[in-house]
């Protein structure tokens, strides 16, 4: 039996050796792999305590910054007007907005200069977070947000020449600070936000998809003029009669909106845009034709996803379409003439984002070139004390894109002239006059614009729209183009146009003040 016990001792020592080998696997061989796994609580803890770059407005005002205490990063957002642009970086809910698009830079995982990034990797240097400067001026942003107080809607303003976003705000908004800190306390405020029936999480500028109504006529006019389907002097002989009797098309009758005291007449482009004649633009759409309508739509950015920014770091914008969505995400052909004619005045299956319509306005203001929108003006070195403003060290400054020509400069000029009339022409004043910047303390400047009253099904109040730009008088270079929507706001002239006028006037005043 002694021999058996000795053999047992041998087996046991072998077993101890195997177990030690197993320990060596985890503790030495596989240790590095374990240490870097994403679900390792230490990796998660490092993420929880990671510093994050700050975000500043165009003037260097602090919008978002992170402090670390008790191994927990606290992200503080200073201005809810920026919530939908900046988004949030929540330990519990992930990232949205610019926090998502620029996550690699804000965390320091990437460097705008690939060589320096490579050097960081080689030297195993601690990644340094990067700061962002925005093209948005907080003063204009706050002013726009204040105009939307108490209503559900959005304002987005662009510098037509560069595509720089000047303001982009959506209501209702929320303070993302509460959902960005301790994950344990983030659930309750998030639940409150989600319970709000007006859906504050949605950025209506980019994700709100609406029927445009009459603001679409700007697009229709520009496309038809550029295609040679009409001239500024084109008239349709049947139009005056159809203003009252209706335009019978394929068994369907297109009717005019309530013209009030205005007497129907034989209108060419300018009066038709001032009156916002649906009959006139139905004819224009039919003259343009289904194929060319869609071709111009694509030139303006419809039928494909838009993005604010470039180089893979961009805020996505929902697709705007004049027709139904195709399986590939693009646009289906028009199903019939009625749909085409209705799309020409912004009804039927047309669905657009405020961002897209701001680009339509900006394109006219920019001589026919669709600008490339962007919102981050510079990537900067991290400022140790963000309350003292951004670092002077710019790692990468944004250069405006060349844009995409949609219509000729001549066409743009013709539409611009009609849009100026639509705000301050004899009839235009009735519909869009309240969008004129002169009403809000700016003198000697003309405004181009167009209102929209987007009919909705049933008894729902129409959406109130306005697109426009200023200064628009001959020879002036427009410095701001915008789109305004107030959900269920009724007539465009009632809610949206005054907001558009005030925001443009504010921007001109801010520029004049320097």
């Amino acid at each position: 039996m002694t021999g058996n016990i000795r053999r047992l001792a041998g087996y046991l020592i072998l077993s101890f050796a195997i177990v030690t080998g197993g320990l060596a696997w985890w503790q030495v061989v596989d240790a590095q792999q374990l240490a870097t796994r994403a679900d390792n609580p230490q990796v998660i803890a490092a993420h929880r305590s990671a510093l994050r770059g700050s975000i500043f407005d165009a003037q260097g005002h602090l919008l978002a910054s992170t402090t670390v205490s008790d191994n927990l990063a606290h992200r503080t957002y200073t201005d809810p007007a920026f919530t939908h642009v900046i988004g949030y970086a929540s330990l519990r809910y992930g990232t949205t907005g610019l926090e998502r698009a620029y996550d690699d830079l804000l965390t320091g995982q990437a460097d705008p200069n690939p060589l320096r990034g490579l050097l960081d990797d080689i030297l195993a240097r601690q990644p340094e977070p990067k700061d962002l400067s925005l093209t948005i001026d907080q003063r204009l942003q706050d002013f726009a947000a204040a105009q939307l107080k108490g209503v559900v809607g959005a304002v987005v303003a662009i510098d037509p020449a560069t595509g720089a976003i000047l303001a982009s705000t959506s209501t209702p908004t929320f303070d993302p600070t509460a959902i960005s800190g301790d994950p344990a306390t983030a659930a309750e405020p998030m639940a409150q936000i989600q319970a709000n029936p007006d859906k504050p999480l949605i950025d209506r500028v980019r994700q709100g998809v609406y029927t445009p109504g009459s603001i679409m006529k700007v697009f229709t006019a520009a496309s038809a003029l550029d295609a040679g389907a009409i001239t500024p002097d084109t008239t349709f002989p049947d139009q005056p009669k159809q203003e009252t009797s209706g335009f019978k098309l394929q068994g369907f009758t297109i009717t005019e909106h309530d013209l009030g005291s205005i007497k129907p007449a034989l209108w060419d482009l300018s009066p038709a845009l001032q009156v916002s004649s649906n009959i006139f633009f139905a004819h224009v759409g039919l003259e343009l034709g289904a194929d060319r309508f869609l071709e111009y739509a694509r030139r303006f950015g419809f039928c494909a996803p838009l993005a604010i920014g470039s180089n893979g770091r961009a805020l996505p914008v929902s697709v705007s379409r004049p027709t139904r969505a195709a399986d590939d995400g693009g646009c289906t052909p028009f199903s019939d003439q009625v749909e085409l004619a209705s799309a020409a005045f912004g009804q039927a299956q047309v669905n657009v984002t405020p961002m897209q319509m701001a680009l339509v306005a900006a394109t006219i203001a920019n001589g026919g070139i669709v600008p490339d929108p962007y919102v981050v003006s510079a990537i900067r070195a991290h400022a140790a004390d963000p309350s003292k403003g951004p670092s002077g060290r710019v790692l990468e400054a944004a250069t405006p894109g060349a844009g995409q020509r949609a219509v000729s400069a001549e066409t743009a000029q013709q539409v611009r002239s009609a849009m100026v009339d639509a705000v301050s022409g004899p009839i235009g004043r009735i519909y869009a006059g309240s969008g004129a910047v002169t009403l809000y303390g700016v003198s000697g400047v003309e405004t181009a614009g167009k209102t929209g009253t987007a009919q909705r099904s049933g008894a729902l109040a129409p959406h109130s729209w306005f697109i426009g730009f200023a200064p628009a008088q001959a020879g002036a270079t427009p410095s701001i183009a915008l789109a305004v929507i107030v959900e269920g706001g009724g007539a465009g002239s009632g809610k949206a146009a005054p907001i558009g006028g005030k925001v443009m006037a504010e921007w001109l005043k801010l520029q004049a003040a320097g």
Partner: protein
């Protein structure tokens, strides 16, 4: 009873004087950041208790093995340092209304265990009571098992606790020792028959049926434990002890092989039939399939091993709190070894395993020197229970086998386990004492 100086034992116990208080002081300094040894009362009391046990053995003229107590005392000392380093709020008892914390409770059980060890080592000198009444012991063990099945409290899906007022008790620990006694008695009586005469069925030689039945009964009991009490670790341990003793008694590897195949077949059936077994096994194969729930414990333990690395994070410097909690559940019992491996590294883990291996070898030496088959098989079984239990829990921690909830002898928090381990130690001391006395007697006669 003449005094027996135990010089080797005393010399080997001297390092404990430094080891345990130093461990306490180090963790205190690291955890508080104050250069101050902190409260050392518990450490000193522990060393004093071990030395008192030594002194009792000396005064009572004990001639048993002198390495067993120092080895167990050192292993237990490492465990106490670790338990003292963990948050004391994890568990623990209060005595007369005073909360003595986890390490304090463990120390109280050390005292109980040492007293039991000395008592058994010194006064339990006639093994007739074990040898002759083996079926009575077996019946008592089976009864205990039955009572546990019927009245036991369920913890983490396993039914292995009996409660007497405030004190919980794990009958499995007592049954383990009773099982060893029974198997040793049975095999000592029948080992010649089991090793010799065979009926040949194909390539397999099997012993005569009447001798086979008690062993099949043991197999059935083990499987019963798996099915009814869901205690996989204990079942594996019992079965391993049985197969090891069978091998030592008969020298037949084929028995072990057939036994292992039977166990694997039984385990496979259990895997197919019982959800809790399937979860354990699936979780062993890929804990990352469900790292936040079913695989959580295993995954967190592996991260702890990884953090430890070769030299460890240092006493008191590992085991980071995640969200204010230690990420590994049952760190003070099933995963105490993982905690030690993290803070002391592979080197420290290896050292602890080496101490345990030395203890096992010393136990096997007691078995070899034993004067009769029963004592020898008893020593083998008791030693194996300690050694296998260590291997099963460490292999489970390190994902070499499916994780089972059993304790690391002398180290894990828990009174039943600690008491049982010291009873084993006492029995081994008692066996080696008799061998030594008999050997002297023989020498005197010659």
């Amino acid at each position: 009873m003449p005094i027996a100086w135990r010089g080797t034992e005393l010399r080997l116990l001297l390092p404990l004087l430094v080891l345990v208080p130093l461990g306490f002081a180090l963790t205190h300094v690291v955890q508080t950041g104050v250069l101050d040894p902190g409260p050392l009362g518990l450490a000193i009391a522990y060393v004093a208790a071990i030395l008192a046990a030594h002194l009792a053995l000396v005064l009572l003229g004990h001639r048993g093995d002198q390495l067993l107590l120092p080895l167990a005392g050192t292993i237990g000392g490492v465990g106490l340092v670790m338990l003292n380093r963990l948050p004391q709020s994890l568990t623990g008892m209060s005595i007369f209304g005073a909360d003595i914390g986890m390490a304090g409770t463990q120390f109280a059980w050390f005292v109980v265990g040492l007293v039991a060890m000395v008592g058994i080592a010194v006064f339990f000198r006639d093994d007739g009571a074990l040898r002759h009444y083996k079926y009575t012991w077996a019946a008592a063990g089976a009864a205990l098992l039955a009572i546990t099945f019927l009245f036991g409290a369920e913890v983490n899906g396993a039914r292995l606790w009996l409660h007497f007022g405030p004190i919980g008790f794990q009958p499995g620990e007592a049954i383990k020792i009773v099982l060893v006694v029974f198997i040793a008695g049975y095999l000592a009586e029948n080992r010649a028959l089991l090793a010799g005469a065979h009926r040949q069925i194909g390539p397999v030689k099997i012993p005569p049926l009447p001798y086979l039945l008690p062993m099949l009964a043991i197999f059935a009991i083990v499987m019963g434990i798996v099915v009814i009490s869901r205690d996989l670790g204990t079942a594996l341990l019992f079965y391993g002890i049985f197969l090891t003793m069978l091998f030592v008694a008969t020298g037949r590897r084929s028995y072990v092989l057939v036994g292992l195949l039977l166990f694997l077949a039984g385990a496979f059936v259990a895997y197919k039939l019982f959800g809790h077994v399937a979860i354990r096994v699936d979780n062993w194969i890929n804990p990352w399939a469900d790292p936040t729930d079913a695989g959580y414990q295993t995954v967190q333990a592996l991260y702890a091993f990884g953090r430890g690395g070769l030299f460890g994070e240092g006493l008191g410097q590992g085991l980071p709190l995640i969200g204010g909690h230690l990420p590994i559940p049952a760190i003070q019992t099933d995963f105490i070894f993982t905690a030690i491996a993290e803070e002391l590294g592979l080197v420290g883990a290896f050292a602890l395993l080496a101490l345990m291996a030395a203890l096992v070898f010393r136990g096997l030496r007691v078995a070899i020197l034993a004067r009769d088959d029963f004592s020898s098989l008893l020593a083998v079984g008791l030693t194996t229970s300690i050694g296998l239990q260590t291997l099963i829990i460490v292999a489970g921690n390190a994902k070499l086998i499916p994780l089972t909830g059993i304790t690391f002898p002398f180290v894990s928090y828990g009174g039943s386990s600690l008491l049982a381990s010291f009873v084993v130690l006492g029995l081994l001391l008692s066996i080696s004492h008799r061998s030594a006395v008999d050997a002297e007697h023989d020498a005197g006669r010659a």
